[in-house]
């Protein structure tokens, strides 16, 4: 919202410079987005008229003009295209200065002399951008100083008003705030008592309110014999400076009073009001209204309208109807000032997608005791600028009588809340400066809050005002004493710490992605029809169609991240994310769970000059799963292979379950068809951890075991293993046969190649033996090895290599 400093000063005699006023209001909690100084640093610009416009003899794109200031005539070369004889324009004379310290001198432009410059709004610093020369009204007085003609220089404050401060949405409102801050009185404009005709207003129009809960007050006046036309300069200037377009004298007055007092008003052409009847009612089903913005809207039954005998003529508090608008032919107007319920205005405005200065103010609440004053002020101004005569008396229909808020106020409570030591005198003075009436009531005070401060209705509201106006800087800074009550709240996501540190050691970087996925993610992941991730939920009002689904898996985002990183010629991509996923339960509720998901693509991490690069493979992601499970010390888990469905390749997948059969994690190689969908042109592996299941899985207790007293003996055996026998089978058999001396079995080599019979592979293990009560002899160890080898031979046809 733009506030003109010149305009503001009509109501409060503030002498402080604009910068100081800005500083004060910022510290009182009003955000000032921008301060501009139109007309500053301009001299010697006057109103002139174009006497002739001809082509420049040597330049096609330039014009040669003659302009008159009334007393003098100048030849000026101009580059703009929008000029024509007879127009009035701002002329910067030789010796003039424009913003940016741009001095106008006599000049020769392509051999033609030019004495001055015709100015655009941009060159005058009045607009950020402007095409062509600023064309002035035809009655602009020739020779008059342009600045004084425009009411410049001025300072414009662009304020951002918080929703609680509806009272600041006008010049008088801001003047009140400035008055309270600078301890200055505020003069509100009073309607000059104007003559009324003999005819009673009530004989011209009948007003009734049907929707009593949505309209507290409806007041109106009728003005007859007006002449609709252009507004006088002061009115045009006032509105244009704060970014409002001048329309005609009647509409401009209603707009002016809105920005002066904050009360929205509307003028109807009374002759267009059927049946001379105004009914404030809810819309009827299917009813339509043509609006001033040249659209036609179909209304819903709960929307509040102003209707005549036959049809809606305005959307209450939002916008007038085109069917009753004031035109050049209008002679009698009905001027409305009312109070509409804020919620209904907001709801209707949002439903129809219309936001106006009027709806903005009604939504936030206008001064209930200011309605009639605003009506009179506007009526008087209309008569002043458009002529005519008011009929006798105002019409005022009230459904709810406004009562000022009465607040019990304790000055001690202020200090208790703020931690200050403000005297009673200072506190009460601030409340009075704000327009409150304060009376002693026992140990406390009874405070009547002003009607324009609808945000003040409780003691805490008054305490805030005192804090605001004494300045937050004057509240002391004190370290609080925090009571050390113990809480049972656990911190963070279970397992998060262990998982993060394992992943970081393994070379994975954390990614953070949006919660939203495109609806086709499930197809891109080639999920089966009954896959859990297909039970996803969409947002009702997504920001875009491809950001509709609350993600049930973190994989698609990580695949997109992988694609991005691979596209930068990165050879190894290792990323993870720990975040919430959402799935639709069978009960129709959306369940939120945490996933930890890791993706590995391209080369394995940790390559270096002593550790040659190699392609990542299944065993990298499996090893990561093993490391994660070890770090979390889970107990009694089981591995299943060849079971996971797409997006994994089943034969290169694993599922880890706990003893209760719940899946802790799933992982493996990703389906190449899925990778193609995500443009990932490298082998890619992933694992997904269900953190809730991980948390619910029993953990091994960390407890000390006595260090061995006797040495360990080890033997290496290389086995030739036929096809179909798995490493897991071998280890299980070795462990079984090795009891009780065998303490560890470790694979240290795998060989497949020409030296072995077809289909065979060689696995080399290191077996460690130890007894708890003695040092093992060579023979004891050899006997154990023999037993193990014999067993492998008979059970699996495995031979020693």
């Amino acid at each position: 919202m733009l506030i003109s400093f010149n305009w503001l000063k009509k109501y409060v005699a503030v002498t402080a410079p604009a910068e100081e006023v800005v500083n004060h209001i910022i510290h009182a909690g009003v955000e000032v987005a921008n301060v501009r100084h139109p007309g500053q640093n301009i001299t010697n610009v006057v109103v002139a008229e174009l006497l002739s416009v001809e082509k420049h003899p040597k330049a096609d794109r330039l014009s040669l003009t003659k302009v008159s200031t009334g007393s003098e005539t100048f030849q000026v070369v101009c580059g703009a295209k929008n000029i024509a004889v007879g127009q009035r324009i701002p002329l910067a004379k030789v010796g003039a200065v424009l913003p940016g310290d741009f001095k106008i001198k006599e000049a020769k432009i392509r051999d033609v002399e030019s004495f001055g410059m015709l100015c655009s709004a941009k060159e005058l610093g009045l607009a950020e951008d402007a095409e062509g020369i600023l064309i002035l009204p035809s009655d602009a007085p020739l020779g008059q100083d342009f600045l004084s003609y425009m009411g410049l220089p001025d300072t414009l404050f662009e304020l951002e008003i918080t929703p609680n401060r509806a009272d600041l949405l006008s010049h008088v409102g801001v003047a009140r705030e400035v008055g309270a801050l600078f301890n200055l009185p505020v003069k509100t404009p009073v309607a000059i008592k104007l003559a009324e005709s003999k005819a009673a207003t009530a004989s011209k129009v009948k007003v009734s309110i049907e929707a009593k809960d949505l309209c507290q007050l409806y007041t109106c006046r009728v003005i007859e014999g007006i002449k609709v036309g252009p507004s006088p300069l002061w009115l045009v200037q006032s509105l244009e400076k704060i970014g409002q377009r001048s329309i005609n004298n009647v509409v401009d007055v209603t707009n002016f009073v809105l920005h002066e007092l904050g009360q929205p008003l509307h003028a109807f052409d009374l002759e267009q009001i059927h049946g001379s009847q105004i009914i404030v009612r809810k819309a009827k089903k299917g009813e339509k209204i043509p609006l001033l913005d040249k659209t036609e809207r179909e209304l819903k039954e709960e929307m509040l309208v102003i209707a005549d005998a036959d049809r809606p003529v305005a959307l209450a508090g939002i916008m007038g109807g085109a069917n009753s608008q004031v035109t050049e032919k209008t002679q009698t107007i009905l001027l409305e000032a009312a109070l509409f319920q804020p919620g209904t205005v907001r709801k209707t405005a949002r439903q129809l997608g219309i936001a106006t200065d009027s709806s903005y103010r009604f939504e936030r609440g206008v001064d209930p005791l200011g309605v009639q004053a605003a009506l009179d002020r506007a009526a008087a101004l209309i008569v002043e600028v458009a002529g005519g005569l008011m009929t006798q008396n105002i019409i005022s229909v009230e459904t709810t009588t406004f009562k000022s808020a009465q607040v019990q106020f304790r000055t001690a409570r202020t200090n208790a809340i703020l931690g200050t030591n403000l005297s009673e005198e200072i506190q009460l003075q601030i409340l009075k400066n704000l327009g409150c009436k304060v009376e002693k009531a026992g140990a406390a005070y009874q405070v009547e809050c002003p009607s324009y401060r609808l945000d003040l209705s409780r003691e805490i509201d008054l305490i805030e005002e005192i804090a605001r106006l004494t300045g937050y800087d004057n509240i002391p800074v004190v370290a609080p004493r925090i009571s050390a009550a113990l809480s049972d709240i656990r911190s963070g996501i279970p397992g998060e710490k262990e998982i993060r540190s394992t992943l970081h050691q393994a070379g994975y970087f954390e990614a953070v992605n949006s919660t939203f996925l495109p609806p086709n993610f499930a197809d891109k992941l080639k999920l089966a029809a009954d896959h859990l991730y297909r039970r996803s939920q969409e947002v009702d009002n997504p920001i875009a169609d491809d950001q509709k689904v609350l993600r049930p898996t973190l994989l698609p985002s990580l695949l997109a991240n992988t694609q991005l990183n691979l596209s930068h010629q990165r050879e190894s991509v290792a990323l993870y994310e720990i975040n919430k996923v959402f799935t639709l339960g069978t009960d129709g509720q959306v369940a939120e769970r945490f996933h930890a998901t890791a993706v590995l693509a391209g080369q394995a991490p940790h390559a270096g000059w002593t550790n040659p690069a190699r392609k990542a493979d299944f065993y990298d992601i499996k090893g990561l799963a093993e490391d994660l499970l070890a770090a979390c010390r889970v107990e009694n888990i089981s591995w299943e292979f060849n079971q996971a469905a797409s997006p994994y390749v089943p034969t290169q997948s694993f599922i880890v379950k706990n003893a209760a059969g719940r899946v802790i994690l799933t992982g493996g190689a990703l389906n190449p068809k899925v990778l193609k969908e995500y443009d990932v042109n490298a082998p890619c592996f992933a694992l997904e951890v269900e953190l809730a299941v991980l948390a619910a899985t029993p953990k091994k207790r960390q407890s000390y075991m006595a260090l061995p007293k006797f040495p360990e003996a080890w033997r290496d055996i290389a086995l030739v293993v036929p096809e179909g026998v798995t490493a897991a089978q071998i280890v299980a058999a070795v462990e079984e046969q090795g009891k009780p001396l065998l303490k560890q079995v470790e694979l240290f080599d795998l060989y497949k190649g020409p030296n072995l019979p077809a289909g065979m592979r060689s696995l080399a293990y290191r077996l460690s033996f130890r007894a708890d009560d003695k040092t093992l002899t060579d023979k004891e160890v050899s006997d154990k090895i023999t037993q193990i080898v014999e067993h492998l031979k008979t059970r699996y046809a495995i031979a020693l290599r």
Partner: protein, 337 residues
């Protein structure tokens, strides 16, 4: 015999001086001083020497032995010292060491953890809440009436009868309702606003909410704790400034600015020449919120604050586009290890 001994000494002086490596020195030690070394042999022959010459010859042979020992030791030391200074051929200590190329935490998580760690050090606990909230917890209980313009600032995503929380403040209500103060919590989480994305806005972002409710909690305490927080987070020289503002769930409400870390408050591009940067919103918890949680708002007072993790991370690291956080370009991520 003395002449013989002196001859041995002379010979030893020459050979030791010329010895070129430690191995030769060890051979020389054996040659002169070993079990059948030259000096040892001489000393073995001492038995046959006439008694009157024994002390004289014994003394000389000991001197010779000691001198040769000293020469050998000195030469060994010299050589070892020299060896330490000469690198073997092809040695290049400037080759990179063997490192574990660790991954790392996302800057947003890092900032969130740093914030939480400071407040945990101050005695706060961590609380969490659902991303899908009811209108009651997200708005109504926090003193946002239905159809109130205060809701405009929080463009909301709807999911059936729920909303995606527009702030972390619902966690306040969830933690406080039907429980007895004192409360002192930090509540981090992801929040959602239905607005278009640009360099400073995203439709998802992260907040850390904090609140403290007890008897006798005052606005001055809020200033105190946030002052401590910002000094611990950005450094002791940081100044804070409180400006009145409006949030439906706090009153009095404030915006907190901190002095710009890039120009020490002198004014620069990052702080738009003001010397101050807006960092968070805060205030005394509105009595209406306490009432909604069935807490005696006359006996208990409290403060709450909420900060945007992205905003703080942008400022802390001097990042100029919020979208970088969600692209997950490893070239970006690895800068924050």
């Amino acid at each position: 015999m003395i002449d013989q001994l002196n001859a041995i000494l002379k010979d030893a002086e020459g050979t030791i001086a010329q010895a070129s490596d430690l191995k030769i020195l060890e051979e020389l030690r054996v040659k002169y001083l070993g079990k059948s070394g030259a000096v040892t042999e001489m000393m073995k022959g001492l038995g046959q020497v006439p008694a009157d010459q024994k002390p004289q010859i014994g003394k000389v042979s000991n001197e010779v032995k000691n001198k040769i020992t000293a020469l050998l030791d000195q030469k060994v030391q010299e050589m070892e010292a020299k060896a330490e200074q000469v690198a073997p051929a092809g040695w290049d200590p400037t080759l990179p060491g063997r490192r574990l190329t660790a991954g790392g935490i996302h800057p947003l998580t890092a900032v969130q953890k740093d914030i939480a760690d400071i407040f945990r050090g101050l005695g706060f606990d961590i609380a969490e809440g659902p991303d899908l909230e009811t209108d009651y917890y997200n708005f109504l209980a926090l003193n946002f009436p239905p159809d109130h313009p205060a809701r405009d600032a929080q463009d909301t995503f709807y999911v059936k009868d729920r909303v995606l929380r527009t702030h972390t403040s619902p966690i306040q209500v969830r933690q406080m309702e039907n429980k007895k103060p004192p409360f002192k919590f930090i509540a981090p989480g992801r929040v959602y606003r239905n607005e278009s994305i640009d360099a400073t806005h995203h439709h998802i972002f992260h907040q850390v909410e904090g609140f403290l409710v007890d008897e006798g909690v005052q606005f001055s305490h809020l200033k105190g704790i946030l002052n401590v927080f910002f000094q611990k987070f950005f450094g002791n020289e940081i100044k804070t400034r409180f400006r009145p503002s409006f949030f439906p769930f706090t009153e009095p409400s404030a915006e907190v600015d901190i002095s710009c870390i890039f120009c020490a408050g002198k004014g620069c591009r990052i702080c738009k020449q003001s010397g101050w940067v807006e960092m968070m919103g805060c205030g005394m918890i509105d009595p209406a919120v306490l009432k909604n949680c069935k807490i005696d708002d006359e006996r208990y007072t409290g403060f709450a604050f909420g900060m945007g993790v992205e905003r703080i991370a942008l400022f802390k690291y001097g990042i100029d586009d919020i979208r970088l956080f969600y692209q997950n370009d490893i070239r970006f991520l690895e800068q924050f290890q």
